[in-house]
């Protein structure tokens, strides 16, 4: 396999864009990534687009950006779609099929339900007659998206004495970082009390402990080592990737999500890194879809022992100025979570941070933490459960 570098990125502001078509969010993100990479768009040889709801929009975006006649694949894997699209583009360039590949992540969510965007309602319609008669599936119709994590949060509290204030502190950290991210949907500072007094969604999770449904797009350009050395002095290298399948029934009261454990282990092994190698050396963008999620990820990724996730927050270890900054962008809780766009936005953040771009000057991770970075998304495609971890480094 060839070495592959991330060389350019573009992010269309995450938020509420009722009046914009997919293509009107995707085109600016792609143009920004091309300009950032300093390439001629005619050099792009393949495209992977992560989106759950955007049927056909990849073709429209390519056409409208003047990139015509290349292979394009739409990747649907719930909240993992963007990370998964990146992984396929990386494989494409690493194998030598393309020298330069474009990764797009995009979603429009504000005007519909999660189940519509993610295709769940579509599938229910196709399968409704069978599902109504099949108790093995019908039972899960009780549980909305925050349900699994609300159950995990209550169990974590009962088993380890985790408090609701500790859960709320994840959102407080998220907003502190997003306050300096003009492309985040929510940039307001919140206190623990603000978070706890917010509207209750699924106890113990209040609204600001649940990531919003958001409109947004992101794009990145990746290329082979040979070309990267021609185009940039500051490439970010892809060092490892893991993607794992499962179903949710295994995970309900277990406070460890096997796909997260397995994806991170696969990526660590490929990158020749261990969990401890991120402290005073790296940073991460993880899938904080809910406050408890970020705490569970610390534990599943081996950054602390099971049950000790809240201590990472309490001790400030994962703040921007801590030993191991997590979600300097503000993460999903504050940036918002346009499903397919999230995994691509995270990689854009890694590039901006490692290059010390003006874009992130106010939320810049310290120098000593810029050597390695981990991005992570996880998703629940209906009864499925999946996770993708990608690892990057500044030096090859």
């Amino acid at each position: 396999m060839r070495n592959v570098a991330v060389v350019g990125a573009g992010v269309f502001p995450f938020g509420r864009h009722h009046d914009l078509l997919y293509v009107e969010m995707g085109r600016p993100a792609v143009n920004e990534a091309i300009e950032d990479a300093g390439i001629d768009r005619k050099e792009i040889q393949s495209c992977y687009i992560g989106t759950t709801g955007g049927v056909g929009v990849g073709h429209e975006i390519l056409y409208e950006t003047g990139i015509i006649g290349i292979p394009i694949s739409r990747v649907e894997n719930a909240c993992v779609s963007g990370s998964n699209a990146f992984r396929l583009a990386w494989m494409d360039v690493a194998l030598g099929l393309s020298d330069i590949s474009l990764v797009i992540g995009i979603e429009k969510m504000k005007d519909s339900s999660m189940a519509d965007v993610a295709g769940g309602m579509g599938r229910l319609k196709l399968e409704m007659k069978a599902i109504a008669k099949n108790p093995s599936v019908a039972n899960f119709g009780l549980m909305g998206p925050p349900g699994y994590f609300a159950l995990a949060a209550h169990r974590h509290m009962a088993e380890f004495g985790t408090t609701k204030e500790e859960l709320a502190s994840v959102t407080v950290k998220s907003r502190q970082n997003a306050h300096n991210n003009p492309k985040a949907e929510y940039q307001n500072i919140m206190t623990v009390d603000d978070v706890l007094n917010d509207k209750m969604i699924n106890p113990p999770l209040t609204r600001s402990q649940c990531c919003p449904k958001t409109d947004g797009a992101a794009a990145i350009i990746i290329m082979s080592e040979e070309l990267a050395k021609k185009y940039t002095d500051t490439p970010v290298w892809v060092k490892g990737s893991g993607l794992t399948s499962s179903i949710i029934t295994d995970l309900l009261s277990n406070l460890s999500a096997m796909p997260n454990v397995k994806s991170s282990r696969t990526a660590y092994d490929m990158a020749k890194l261990e969990p401890n190698d991120f402290f005073k050396n790296g940073f991460a963008e993880v899938h904080d879809c809910f406050s408890i999620s970020e705490i569970l990820h610390y534990e599943d990724f081996g950054w602390c022992k099971k049950g000790e996730g809240p201590k990472m927050i309490n001790d400030g270890i994962t703040q921007i100025d801590g030993d191991f900054p997590v979600n300097p962008s503000g993460g999903l809780l504050s940036c918002g979570h346009p499903l397919g766009a999230t995994g691509v936005r995270q990689i854009a953040e890694v590039l901006y941070q490692m290059r010390k771009d003006k874009e992130v000057a106010k939320r810049q991770v310290p120098d000593e933490n810029l050597n390695v970075a981990l991005t992570h998304t996880m998703g629940q495609p209906m009864l499925g459960f999946t996770s993708c971890v990608n690892i990057f480094s500044r030096d090859l």
């Binding site: 189940a115 108790p135 093995s136 039972n139 009780l142 159950l151 209550h154 009261s253």
Partner: protein, 120 residues
């Protein structure tokens, strides 16, 4: 594959693999761990332990439960361990009777797994 009921009497209609011992619910005529089709009926419950719960304030995708409603994961012993089962809790606002680690009992139903708090 024949459709099987969720409950037999007041117990869950689970299945047990005669080759590797894996117990799964709902019933299936094969084992996902070892792919065996040598499967026996195996009844679980009706008494278990509440592992966790939450409350929904909007209506479910399936079923006729009115919000707000509580749902939960309960743990039931098997002869070689336990299985965790997801279902609704029979409780009303303000849901004060729901206690994590408390005893639960199954309430037989055609479409949904349901629990109530307590030993009887």
């Amino acid at each position: 594959m024949e459709r099987q009921p969720l409950f037999i009497g007041d117990k869950l209609n689970a299945s047990k693999c005669n080759d590797c011992g894996n117990v799964r619910f709902p019933w299936m005529d094969y084992c996902y761990k070892c792919q065996s089709t040598n499967i026996s009926e195996y009844l679980v419950g009706p008494k278990g332990k509440l592992m966790s719960y939450t409350i929904s304030y909007s209506k479910p995708y399936v079923g006729k439960i009115k919000p707000p409603y509580a749902y939960a994961v309960a743990r039931f012993p098997t002869d070689n361990g336990h299985i965790d089962v997801f279902g609704a809790i029979d409780s009303q606002e303000p849901f004060d009777d729901i206690k994590i680690n408390g005893s639960v009992k199954l309430i037989p139903d055609k479409l949904l797994v349901k629990f109530k708090m307590g030993d009887d």
